[in-house]
Amino acid sequence: MNKHVAKKIQSDERKSKGLLIVGIAALVAGFFISEAQSLLWGLGLGLSIAGAGTLLVYKKAKQSPAMQENIILELDERNQSLNTRAAAKAFWLVYYWIGFATLCSTFDWISAHTLLIATLFVMPGIYFFIAVVYHKIG
């Protein structure tokens, strides 16, 4: 296996184990903190599934040359450079979005809660949109 791929798998496995542990901790904490039970269980379930799922994917990747090829493409320096440029652009667009939404919130056009939920969707949406545009135009 390519040493860069092995390093990436090792690093991502560590992150996934971290997610799994935090997820399980949140699930257990949900039993003891009744005020935030639904939040902790939701968070715990989401993180545990994401962590366990990613661990399974990487376990399979160790034996699959096709999946290792995809990891090589993911590590491709031009792809990483384009993704970094997209992230930088998305940061400033989201910054303006938060400024605009805060203004709306001041005039009671939108609640802070709705604004935060919308931001959770808008942020990755903008990032992926810009990343796709950058990958298309090079």
């Binding site: 390519n2 320096e77 031009r78």
Partner: protein, 68 residues
């Protein structure tokens, strides 16, 4: 910044896909470098130099140097 990669690759009888595999990058990256749309990192430039068996300055050159 311009480069001679396309010419050198063809002299070596390599396809873009083959060169991409040796360099551990995507074919799109090779295309972008050949077209001058993407400037490779120093690490990748040295890899290209090793594959082409030529010094860096024989592969990459500044547009202004060419004009002179």
């Amino acid at each position: 910044m311009k480069n001679q990669i396309r010419v050198l690759r063809k002299q070596k009888g390599m396809t873009q896909q083959e060169l991409a595999k040796i360099l551990a990058v995507s074919r799109q990256t090779v295309i972008a470098i050949e077209n001058g749309k993407y400037h490779p990192s120093l690490e990748l430039a040295f890899k290209i130099s090793r594959v082409m068996e030529l010094p860096l300055e024989a592969i990459f050159f500044d547009q202004e140097d060419e004009d002179e």
